[in-house]
């Protein structure tokens, strides 16, 4: 089991409110991603769940048991840190075995579990090496191995891939997702990278200044953002926001159109503009179009499109894909 309930969780450092009262339910086996900009409180929230930070008020329950005042190790959670946090003086085998040793398990049992974790994570050939002799990806695997052997109720990941290069990040993302599927355990994953959030999560929790802006599946958030913040944060490239007459004509203060929902032609359309920068990625082309009336609009066009800097183009938003927001930024 691995259900986690947060009730009126509040964290303040002195007079500064990091997390105003917050409620959240995490179901057993879910892959939940906390996403938000730097300083939004996502790591603090994870550390509160882990027990590494004391709460100012509120309760946290794991599998129906109130763990608010319990030590981190008693919560049956395992955590993978951004810096891997491996013990540099221990070999890979000893790193993975450490939680089992602390739990007082027999050496035979420890050896069996370490070998099993090493097999799952392709670390069998590296068991006698020290962390300093491993690559970034291997270190991250050791950190995951150390988490697996404890057989926790839930895994907590604090930006685990941000120290890896782009290619390795992609591979590890896949490995963690596969691990989630094979273990079927609850995982809470903190990231500021919305691509990681979209590709890995069953449920995304978007945080801003300690508040939950929206909770939902990746596609829910993409299709129906509740407010301007979520609309702007989820999706890459970012959603275009337009105010003024075009918005008023649709009964809104602001309208939002995703770059992929903007039709582009060189003959006619709703908004006229001039191409600033054209980024040809092969599969797609990202165009930054300076329009006459609506500022710079980003467009995701077909990879084969033949336009370049200085060309005049016409943009037309797909009517069914336009998001409308009121003066408070709430979706209409």
């Amino acid at each position: 089991m691995g259900t986690i309930q947060l009730r009126d969780v509040h964290k303040a450092f002195g007079a500064t409110n990091i997390i105003p009262k917050l409620n959240l339910d995490i179901e057993d086996g879910e892959f939940v991603v906390f996403v938000g900009p730097s300083g939004c409180g996502k790591s603090t929230l994870l550390r509160l769940i882990a027990g590494l930070e004391d709460m100012t008020s509120g309760t946290i329950s794991i599998d129906g048991r109130d763990v608010t005042n319990e030590a981190p190790a008693k919560r049956k959670l395992a955590m993978v840190f951004q810096s891997y946090a491996l013990y540099p003086h221990m070999t890979v085998a000893k790193n993975i075995a450490f939680p089992l040793k602390m739990a007082g398990e027999s050496q035979a049992e420890i050896d069996k579990k370490v070998a099993n974790a090493a097999r799952i994570l392709n670390l069998s050939n590296y068991l006698e090496r020290k962390p300093g002799q491993l690559s970034g990806g291997q270190r991250q695997r050791v950190a995951i191995g150390r988490a697996i052997v404890r057989q926790p109720s839930a895994f907590l990941f604090d930006e685990p891939l941000s120290n890896l290069d782009a290619a390795l990040r992609g591979t590890m993302r896949l490995e963690i997702s596969e691990l989630h599927q094979s273990l079927g355990k609850t995982m809470i994953y903190v990231t500021h990278d919305q691509v990681e959030a979209m590709t890995m999560a069953d449920k995304i929790v978007v945080l801003n200044a300690g508040n939950i802006e929206q909770v939902g599946s990746p596609l829910d958030l993409y299709r129906s953002p509740k407010n301007l913040f979520v609309a702007g944060f989820i999706g890459s490239p970012k959603m275009n926001f337009v105010e003024g007459k075009a918005a008023e004509a649709m009964g809104a203060k602001t309208i939002g159109v995703r770059p992929e929902h903007m039709k582009i032609t060189v003959t006619n359309g709703a908004w006229r503009g001039v191409v600033g920068v054209a980024e040809h990625l092969g599969s797609d082309t990202f165009l930054h179009v300076h329009t006459d009336d609506h500022g710079t609009i980003n467009v995701r066009a077909d990879g084969e499109i033949r336009v370049s800097h200085g060309d005049v183009v016409f943009l037309t938003p797909e009517p069914a894909k336009i998001h409308r927001f009121d003066a408070n930024g709430k979706a209409l």
Binding site: A73, F81, Y87, F98
Partner: protein, 274 residues
């Protein structure tokens, strides 16, 4: 590309380094030379060539038992340092990983006790020793030397511990380590270079401490510093004998320092370059 250093610059730096090193080492060298002279040569004036007489060493041995003060020095230096580490490691852990607003003030206050002249507290400490009946006792001196060097122990360890990422200790906590498990299995092994250099430096400091050891010991707990002092006798100064006693007193620590200099330098410059 690295800038090439001119040969002449390198030569002048080397000469300057040798001059400074010789200046620092000269008092020890001259003590060794004097100890190998006869009393007559020693009193005759500055002379770098001794007659390599071992007479003074023989006399020092005959006049006083060397083994007892040597044993006392070992007990006091090692004992006070180990005791200091047992108290200093948890203290530095608390200050480095669980600091409060006042941690810096506490550290400064601890250091400020080192700035106070020892003579200022001679009378109260003398009276405390007298009342507790620990005058001239190894236990009393071990505790006193530990207290004198504790600020340095805590400061050094605090500096080393600050270099250790807090996330590693948090990982240990998540892995089920309790406070002592965290300190014993993770923090201490990671801080071994720092702890070792703290240990070495404090053994040297405790070995050489003379203000308190001379004043609060007579025979039972008197270490080698008191042994040297006993040779500046009322019968007059015997330079060669005094030098021989000094060499016998500093030789063990000098040899230990020589063999552990790599560790000492590494520890003392720890954290200076990342």
């Amino acid at each position: 590309m690295a800038r090439a250093v001119k040969t002449s610059t390198r030569v002048s730096y080397t000469i300057a380094a040798w001059v400074v090193a010789l200046l620092i080492f000269f008092p020890i060298l001259y003590t060794i030379i004097t100890s190998l002279k006869t009393e007559g040569e020693a009193i005759a004036g500055f002379n770098l060539i001794p007659s390599f007489s071992l007479e003074s060493y023989r006399e020092v041995q005959n006049q006083q038992n060397y083994i007892k003060p040597f044993t006392n020095s070992v007990v006091l230096a090692v004992g006070s340092t180990v005791l200091g580490l047992l108290i200093g490691i948890p203290a530095a852990w608390a200050m480095a990983f669980s600091p409060t607003k006042r941690t810096k003030d506490v550290l400064m206050w601890m250091l400020s006790t080192k700035m106070m002249p020892a003579a200022a507290v001679l009378v109260p400490i003398y009276l405390i020793f007298l009342r507790l009946g620990i005058m001239d006792s190894r236990i009393g001196m071990t505790v006193l030397l530990m207290l004198i060097n504790l600020p340095i122990i805590v400061w050094m360890l605090y500096t080393y511990f600050r270099e250790i990422p807090g996330e590693i200790l948090e990982a240990a906590r998540m892995d089920g380590a309790n406070l002592w498990g965290e300190i014993w299995h993770v923090l201490t092994p990671m801080a071994v270079p720092g702890i070792a250099s703290t240990l070495l430096l404090n053994i040297i400091l405790a070995w050489n401490e003379s203000f308190w050891t001379i004043r609060l010991t007579t025979t039972n707990a008197a270490p080698l510093t008191a042994f040297i002092a006993s040779f500046s006798s009322p019968q007059g100064l015997f330079w060669a004998k005094l030098s021989a006693a000094s060499v016998m007193a500093i030789a063990p620590i000098l040899i230990m320092g020589w063999f552990s200099q790599k560790q000492l330098v590494r520890g003392l410059t720890f954290g200076a370059v990342k």
